[in-house]
Symmetry: C2
Subunit: 355 residues, 2 copies
């Protein structure tokens, strides 16, 4: 059942049938109606999309490469919100979004093997096989929260500015014993001065940058707690636990999810937030406002980020020059998880305590 089947039934040529479906202005209303109704009768669903894609050189599909697998990425509300916004904007423009896992196990590398017109790469390193494959195919690409790559437009938020505000907020409240909880950095409760702050994640790098700048200005050397992994994992949880053995008065976390992790673990040990430990997150995850105490965090506009990524890619598809828009703004949102440090209670092992 192809164009030809219909053509023979109606008694016209194949391309007249093709025109009936794809270029209505190329034939009479009447003939078109006859063709379409014949197609309907025969149960022909329309031109085969794969054949059409080959002939037109256009698929209507845009790829989305996520940090790890979609399975991992979709545990993060921020990533989900981004995908949602991109899918929405692209859908309005007539494109559909295909989710590509970046790590090609089982020999399948979707970024190389799936037919598409362009791709959005979210939070990925340039060395990833998915990114390489996309570049080799010379597909229009937009990078989002990724390491900059020459010629590839980049969308991102102003992580450093947001982080600076977050750290300054703690300093202004009077905190000086501060811990930083991150991923993509191997650090087990060590002073920042003792370790290298190099990380493969541009997002973390930006945030570290902002935090450290504000803390250095205040003469504060934070304790670093981090995992080599990209997400919250057992290693990080264990190190957070160790941190709480002798807790700082405040914590800067690389995400709201990490901040909630700290809050939950603190609660398990009856350490009060914010009375004994202030916690600041990042992202303004929908959860942040709903937990108790509500989380102080740095807000970013996920919808705007998704919309921006979609629009830049769309302009690339129109063969317009690639431009990276300015970094999207971030803003501190002060809620209930931060307060002034209370005077340090004497600890049991403190020589000044007891008799």
């Amino acid at each position: 059942m192809t164009l030809k089947t219909i053509a023979e039934h109606v008694g016209v040529s194949r391309m007249t049938v093709s025109n009936a479906f794809s270029r209505p202005d190329q034939l009479s209303e009447d003939l078109r109606a006859r063709i379409l109704s014949a197609a309907d009768d025969l149960g022909y669903a329309g031109p085969d999309p794969a054949a059409r894609a080959l002939a037109r050189g256009r698929t209507g599909v845009i790829g989305m490469v996520l940090t790890n697998s979609p399975r991992d990425a979709f545990t993060d509300d921020v990533a989900v919100g981004f995908v949602r916004a991109v899918a929405g904007s692209l859908g309005d423009a007539g494109y559909s979004l295909v989710l590509l896992h970046s790590s090609g196990d089982n020999g399948v590398v979707p970024a190389r093997d799936i037919a598409m017109d362009g791709a959005i790469v979210y939070s990925c390193a340039p060395a990833m096989s998915a990114f390489t494959a996309l570049r080799e195919r010379r597909l229009p690409i937009v990078n989002v929260e990724s390491l900059p790559f020459p010629g590839v437009p980049d969308i991102g938020i102003d992580d450093a500015a947001g982080a600076y505000q977050a750290a300054k907020h703690l300093v202004d409240l009077g905190h000086s014993r501060i811990a930083i909880v991150v991923a993509a950095l191997d650090a087990d409760n060590l002073p920042s001065s003792d370790i290298s702050l190099n990380t493969a994640s541009p997002t973390i790098a930006g945030r570290l940058d902002g935090w450290m700048r504000a803390l250095e200005q205040a003469g504060v050397v934070p304790t670093m707690i981090g995992t080599p992994g990209l997400v919250i994992d057992a290693v990080l949880r264990e190190r957070i636990d160790r941190m709480l053995d002798d807790p700082p008065t405040a914590v800067l976390a690389f995400s709201d999810l990490a901040a909630l992790e700290v809050m939950e673990r603190a609660r398990d040990r009856d350490i009060l937030v914010p009375e004994q430990i202030s916690v600041v997150g990042f992202d303004d995850n929908p959860l942040a406002a709903r937990v108790s105490p509500a989380l102080t965090t740095v807000r970013q506009d996920i919808d705007a980020k998704g919309e921006a990524a979609a629009q830049v890619l769309l302009s690339l598809l129109r063969e317009e020059p690639a431009v990276s828009p300015p970094r999207l703004p971030t803003a501190l949102v002060v809620r209930a998880s931060t307060s002034r440090p209370r005077d340090r209670a004497p600890r049991e092992s403190d020589p000044r305590a007891g008799g």
Copy 2:
């Protein structure tokens, strides 16, 4: 830059190059290495996926049709969890998931126009254009939480059993003034006996079924609050507000999100949960355990649902017969948002009060 370019450079035929990429066992190690390295030198990324899809009759892409647009669907953690599980399972099998919006605005109907090997239809009515297009294309389809359709395997949870347990829980606690909050049903604070409980949503239908059965057994006639829309909208919010003018002692909500809506509105009016009003949700959304008071709800296993949908589709793609697995189990999770009704305080307008 095609297979031919490489073939000419190496001095072999096109299909030897094709074999080098697609059927390594068809040529010598040595020749293959030469071809691959020539391709690499020339910057050839591999066989064009669109051409390959046409020739092979296989794209490696599976479509996912969501109730409304991906934009709407992705506001719901339950739908997101489902997409996540499906994308994960399908990814393991070498397939990528393309998000299809069901309502073809702007003339684009992705379900008709996108090349794919099969599709999963989530929470859709059979009349939807996306579903029709998929059927006309004779693509393998799996329905999830959708109205049954002959020949199409169906995956779903046991909504009725879960709802029954939820309603029974309230009845057992001693409640008799109970309201039911739903979508996909137009009801403005009316007794269930006064209206038709017909709904286009199979999910809601199943839940209504379970709730009503338990309530009827207890001789309770619930008040119905619903919106014709498919999601929580302004209409539903207004009707919930009206319900709270003279609140029931307990509410059964069609989702955790709807339950949270009730709880938030109750809080705004200083109506205590659960002391003055018990609330039961549905789904066991990740939020349910985190809000305060923690929400009593009916748990469903989203991961299992996604995995089941993927496996059934995969078996269809292997041309195995279509079988609908049994409905997935649900279970009541009792948390802090439900309690015995306290004795009704005399209301101001109550003749027994004051005087």
